[in-house]
Symmetry: C2
Subunit: 240 residues, 2 copies
Amino acid sequence: MDEVSRLVTVLRPVRAGNAFEETVERLLQVIKLGLVTEKLPPERELAAQLGISRVTLREAIRALQDAGYLSVRRGRYGGAFLTYAPPRPRQEDELRRAVVDMGTDDLEDALTFRMAVECGAAQVLATTELTRERRDTLRERLQAVNSANPDDYRRLDTAFHLAIAELTGSALLTASCADARLRITDLLDAIPILQRNIEHAGVQHAAIVAAVLARDPEAARRAVAEHLEGTGALLRGFLA
Amino acid sequence: MDEVSRLVTVLRPVRAGNAFEETVERLLQVIKLGLVTEKLPPERELAAQLGISRVTLREAIRALQDAGYLSVRRGRYGGAFLTYAPPRPRQEDELRRAVVDMGTDDLEDALTFRMAVECGAAQVLATTELTRERRDTLRERLQAVNSANPDDYRRLDTAFHLAIAELTGSALLTASCADARLRITDLLDAIPILQRNIEHAGVQHAAIVAAVLARDPEAARRAVAEHLEGTGALLRGFLA
DNA sequence: TCTTATTGGGCTAGTGTTAGACCATTGACG
DNA sequence: CGTCAATGGTCTAACACTAGCCCAATAAGA
């Protein structure tokens, strides 16, 4: 762990790819996380938010259209409509393949990162004094995910986890948690959603919320760690 | 905390600026964190690592040269040599100005982010079974920072904190901790280094290492939180 | 003192990206 | 049944960035 090894961390590529590629990636994230469920914002608006030109954005939308994620309609009340249904749970073989495709190191990295930022977020949130409104928001998200039907489950689970980071009020932390989640979205989507698992997760979600509302950082951290440990162990199991 | 608020997190700008600006920022990070103390790697090598063209890199180096951070020499055994000495602690007025310049929200965001990722990293590290070598590395860094003279203190303190993230083996986590640290580097540099503070921090550093080596995630998290709380409170104090 | 490997300095042709303007289409609504 | 506001579609000129090449300078070592 000498100076050189630290250097490579900071001297990593300045840009992950060209603007087109990064834009496709971003839009896919928005779609896969279920943050947009009907249609994308108008091109002009979206381009401004992403800080790119309309030309580049349009190329990205075109690519997603070709890949079957979007259907674009012209004219007033037109736009880029989602034609994407969250993938149904696949065969175990496919999950194994997905995990192996990702690479051992990348998976380990992503799981470790997620464990750290989500535990950190929960701990920070449990240290903060929350307004009544924020406490209600947290309870609402818990209620939503814990009473979700299988089709909405992943989306609402994502929303719940992200809400913890968002409620801290830190944009940086929220972005990191979103990033961490994104890196394993495809894998999570490949895991069958079993009623038993949903119930188990529900208990853990409730424990997290309880710890946060009780303002107990230690308990919050522990609850999140236990919750993520399960998913992590499952995915890691496919690498053996 | 509706869908829209989550959207703005993911639909943030794809690129933080143009390649030139981002490169200047990166190089400044390397310099300010003390990861390079003599001269930068050769242009061709550096450009490859940063994933940019030599032209762009040279523009950035030129800017840093004009700003007095670098001195470039041609020919074999030449290169971009550092002419940067870590700023001496300034007057309290300057620190106050620096904090105010940064903006209340940005500072709060950075401190929250740092608290989350560093606590998360320590917790994860304390959960892991470390090799003898890694335990030794951790002890070495502790020893280094705790016996540093004032001139080297910031650099070695940075190295210690980063080592915790690095030892988890997660590149993503390391990058996040480096990012968090960078966002407050300028402020930290403005804080006078008092022997009393160094000693106090030394005790806390030792507590962190002890908790990690004892494989006690709770204690590790708590030790880091307490350590960061001090700095956070100090900086926040200038906002009142 | 000369050679030479290594390094920064500079140029060019080609591609990626942007801003901004204008055109084409659509559907709600008067 | 026409109007029109909102939206996607297209074009162009300018700028940013890159890859690759060759030149210029330097200092260690023969």
